[in-house]
């Protein structure tokens, strides 16, 4: 059972304290990630979807310990990342990599792209000079770049090419899990398709697992095997892709699905949510979603729903499901 669970996140929290006043009193927390649990299996793509400010990027970064978690566990093949020392953490970095959203900002403008791709090899002391150069050339060709471009600087590349460099860099040390934080949202449509295809190919070729973070449900639907929907720091629903898209149980998922524009517009009536996502500093009591919910129950504003397994592998945090009133 444990063997094929690559990553197991348990009740992970990341709070940012907020201070104010003369003596910088602590007046509250921004609960960016507020008790999230899920796992990622080997060779699996878990899609994580949510609107801006829901905490999905913070979650990705906290898992990699680029942000220190406030509490909770992140188990990588059974070892808790949150408790690792500096040296062990560095070793673990070989297993997990990240691809960031903005291809422009994620490359050091003063380094050649070859040096950027090579950097993980240098850091972990893999191979000698010649082997590294060969590896960089190989990686560049794998992601569809010419090896001769290794001596160029990022400003000489287009957005799509820069994202390819980012992917090559993430692949350099053969990680098993890649956290992709909105890897295509900054790209044009035709380039987006190229990068998505590339990421698919690489996943299959190297047997990778992805935690694929995006705000675009169409992209998630195309990429993911299972999908988790986040709202205000919590997981609202998590299920396999076919299950989630055909049988969404959380009203938020339902609304989200109906809101996505499509080239083949459904005849179905659209569920229009009113209002904006509330501030994570001061979320509504009870179920965070209840002020915008079209199926709100009286209990929703009082009690926070727990994430519960409704059917095999389908988790929902909603009072409608507690009541069995689907």
């Amino acid at each position: 059972m444990m063997s094929h669970e690559l990553l197991d996140v348990r009740d992970l929290k990341k709070y940012y304290p907020v201070t104010a006043g003369f003596l910088s009193r602590h007046i509250g927390d921004i609960k960016a990630v507020d008790g999230v649990s899920f796992h990622v299996r080997e060779h699996e793509i878990l899609g994580l979807v949510g609107e801006s400010g829901c905490g999905k990027s913070t979650l990705g970064r906290t898992i990699l310990r680029l942000e220190e978690p406030t509490s909770g566990e992140v188990l990588h093949r059974g070892t808790d990342i949150a408790k690792l020392g500096k040296r062990e953490l560095r070793e673990l970095r070989k297993e997990m990599q990240i691809i960031l959203q903005d291809p422009d900002a994620s490359l050091d403008p003063r380094m050649t792209v070859g040096d950027s791709i090579c950097e993980p090899l240098t850091i972990h002391n893999i191979g000698d000079e010649k082997e590294r150069t060969e590896r960089v050339a190989e990686l560049m060709e794998q992601v569809g770049l010419e090896a001769a471009q290794a001596t160029h600087h990022p400003h000489e590349f287009s957005g799509g090419q820069k994202q390819r460099v980012g992917i090559a860099r993430a692949l350099a040390i053969n990680p098993k899990l890649i956290i992709a934080d909105e890897p295509v949202s900054a790209l044009d449509v035709s380039i987006q398709a190229q990068i998505l295809n590339l990421m698919m190919d690489i996943q299959q070729e190297f047997g990778l697992a992805y935690l694929f973070i995006a705000h675009d449900l169409s992209v998630i639907k195309h990429m993911a095997h299972r999908v988790a929907v986040m709202y205000l720091g919590k997981i609202a629903e998590l299920a396999s892709k076919p299950e989630l898209f055909q049988n969404p149980l959380h009203p938020y998922t339902e609304a989200l699905l109906s809101a996505v524009p499509s080239v083949k517009p459904k005849g179905k009536e659209r569920i229009l949510l009113h209002g904006d996502v509330p501030s994570p500093l001061n979320p509504p009591p009870g179920c965070h979603f209840h002020p915008r919910c079209h199926r709100v129950l009286p209990s929703c504003s009082r009690k926070e729903p727990e994430l519960a397994e409704i059917s095999q592998g389908h988790f929902v945090a909603c009072h409608l499901c507690d009541a069995g009133d689907l």
Binding site: T19, A20, G21, F22, S24
Partner: protein, 325 residues
């Protein structure tokens, strides 16, 4: 949408200002007191000339002003007096420091005030015009001259102005006449060269800052929105762009003020022989007259700290996005 946090912020800043001022005073005090001579030396020189017994008199003077005590005691005593608002006694001028400052501050003030007004008004207008007409001949000329202006050493400019307008053309006196009544045309005329000396650099700076602040905002989305609404260009520039350019401008103008009081204004006073605070503190340093040096430093520092605080508070009204914690 009140600014209730503002009071706490101002309090915090005032407290902080007092600490900084105290730090600066301490450093100044120590620096002046470790200097090569004692304030009594000045008396000493006079006494030796008249053939009196020197050592006794020095002792007497030092005892009279507490200069024979260890330095930390002098420091404590001085700070104690300062706390009660006593600025001390000027040895070299033989008068209370407070009176000395009272008679001289106006000379610095009128110079700085007139120069600032001249530089700010003209600088902002030229800067805006230059930005709006970017890449035209007018802009290039304005930019070039602003470079020239910031590169001119102002003390040298003062000397050159005297050379041309006073020595060669004889239009002005070579020295500032302190005998003139404050609000008179003659006084204004006497200040023309000093204001040009101090104001040119400031003016050039303002042209540059205004131009770049305007350019930073001239291509922003809200400017296109304003034009798309059909607003006349005057409103677009004056209301939408300038309001946004004002913030960085205010910062720099205020920041400059601090360095001008004891930099440019100081040198200008020396070139034209204007007996302002700069001149006094300069003479006091040479005379080891530490109460004057410390007092003038205190005034300068307080002005800078106060101006900074006022600027920061003004920000919150100029830019609603700013909020301090």
């Amino acid at each position: 949408m009140g600014k209730s946090w503002l009071r706490a912020y101002i309090l915090k800043r005032l407290l902080y200002a007092v600490i900084i001022a105290w730090g600066i005073l301490t450093v100044t005090f120590v620096l002046v007191r470790v200097g090569p001579s004692s304030p009594a030396d000045r008396y000493l020189a006079n006494m030796t000339a008249s053939g009196q017994d020197v050592s006794q008199i020095v002792e007497a003077i030092e005892a009279r002003y507490g200069l024979d005590k260890p330095m930390h005691e002098q420091y404590i005593e001085y700070m104690g007096n300062l706390f009660q608002g006593k600025l001390g006694w000027s040895f070299s001028n033989s008068m209370p420091v407070i009176d000395l400052i009272k008679t001289h501050w106006i000379y610095s003030f009128q110079l700085i005030l007139l120069s600032s007004i001249f530089a700010a008004l003209l600088g902002v207008v030229v800067g805006i015009y230059s930005a709006v007409k970017q890449y035209t001949k007018t802009d290039y000329i304005a930019t070039f001259f602003s470079f020239v202006g910031i590169s001119l050493p102002n003390f040298w400019l003062g000397v050159m102005l005297i050379l041309v307008f006073s020595v060669k053309l004889g239009l002005f006196k070579t020295y500032y006449d302190t005998g003139l009544p404050l609000f008179s045309l003659d006084n204004l005329k006497a200040l023309v060269l000093p204001v040009m000396t101090l104001g040119t650099g400031m003016l050039a700076g303002y042209v540059r800052y205004t131009r770049s602040a305007m350019l930073d905002n001239l291509r922003k989305g809200f400017v296109t929105t304003a034009r798309a609404k059909g607003l006349p260009e005057r409103t677009v520039i004056g209301k939408h762009v300038f309001r946004n350019a004002l913030l960085p401008l205010v910062t720099i103008v205020m920041f400059d003020l601090g360095s001008i009081v004891f930099g440019g204004a100081y040198l200008t006073e020396i070139v034209f022989g204007i007996p302002g605070l700069g001149q006094i503190s300069f003479n006091a340093i040479f005379a080891n007259d530490y109460p004057v040096v410390v007092a003038v430093t205190l005034i300068g520092t307080s002005i800078v700290l106060l101006v900074n605080l006022v600027t920061d508070v003004a920000y919150t009204y100029l830019d609603p996005r700013i909020r301090y914690d």
